[in-house]
């Protein structure tokens, strides 16, 4: 009896590479806070990898990469099951769901717009988790700042993904990665 597979072996290999990339970006980025007096603002480089997985394999690919990346990244960073881990997990899952939905069901946004939407929902997911942990709505005081920060960070990560997709398209590697 053959088990029903969610991903083919080929896709599984590419997903694993993306998880490794995402985990490294997640950890390295956590080591270098942006030198701004803003609480918790990050570029969100790991988000590039999640959105790339969505572009390749849809919602399932994105969720698989995002959750595996957060688990692995926080194990490496030593924050597994800490509040920081819960924040990262809820932000990653919420943004992945929203980005995958936008990618599949809308046509008016490019990856840059979807990346911005991902940055915004990532921050909202984090604040939601923070408010649950702290049992207080005071953290939503940060929302405007995080919304403002999401525009440049979403733009930058979106442009990086755009140029990555263009290059892979030109060399034909994107088609190879998308094959079953």
């Amino acid at each position: 009896m053959e088990m029903k597979r969610i991903f083919s072996t080929r896709r599984l290999v590419f997903l694993s590479i993306l998880v490794a990339l995402g985990a490294v970006l997640h950890v390295v980025e956590g080591m270098f806070p942006i030198p701004l007096p803003l609480p918790g603002v990050k570029l969100g480089l790991a988000n590039i990898v999640t959105l790339f997985a969505i572009c390749l394999y849809g919602l399932r690919g994105g969720v698989a990469v995002a959750t595996a990346r957060v688990l692995l990244g926080s194990l490496i960073g030593g924050i597994f099951l800490s509040p920081g881990f819960l924040l990262a997990l809820s932000g990653a899952i919420l943004s992945t769901l929203v980005m995958a939905w936008l990618f599949k069901h809308t046509s008016c946004f490019s990856v840059i717009g979807i990346s911005m939407a991902g940055a915004v929902t990532h921050n909202m997911g984090q604040l939601l988790a923070a408010s649950l942990i702290l049992r207080s709505s005071a953290v939503f005081y940060y929302l405007p700042v995080l919304l403002l920060a999401a525009i440049p960070t979403g733009l930058i990560t979106g442009y990086i993904l755009r140029s990555l997709l263009d290059r892979l398209e030109k060399t034909g590697q994107l088609r190879i990665m998308k094959m079953e």
């Binding site: 007096p37 942990i133 953290v139 919304l147």
Partner: protein, 127 residues
Amino acid sequence: MTRGDKFLAAAILLTAILAIAFPRLHSSLFPVATSSARAVIKAQGKIVREVVLSDSGGRSTLVVNGRAGPSTIEVEGKRIRMKEANCPDKICVRQGWIEKPGDSIACIPGEIIVRIEGAAPLDAVTR
């Protein structure tokens, strides 16, 4: 960038500006006497201290025990800040001083929140 992208960026920007501007506008139209504002300090879900913030108050520090260990909070006149904390990221410390009602400092690893509440209810209103 497509038109949709630009629209989205504009919508986010507008929401953020409104969210920043509205409380300021509100507090300038209906000013509260900040001389009687107070800071409410919560640790692990419970209110542990309330500090009255006034110009006449001098500099003082207090220690609050959070989940990540003791944190030092400093009050200076109407301002309050997280001076030292045992949490790993120190986001709360880097935020610096806060002084307006509604402002808050949240330390997530330590589960500590410092929030400035508005003035006490008015004593009387004459029309």
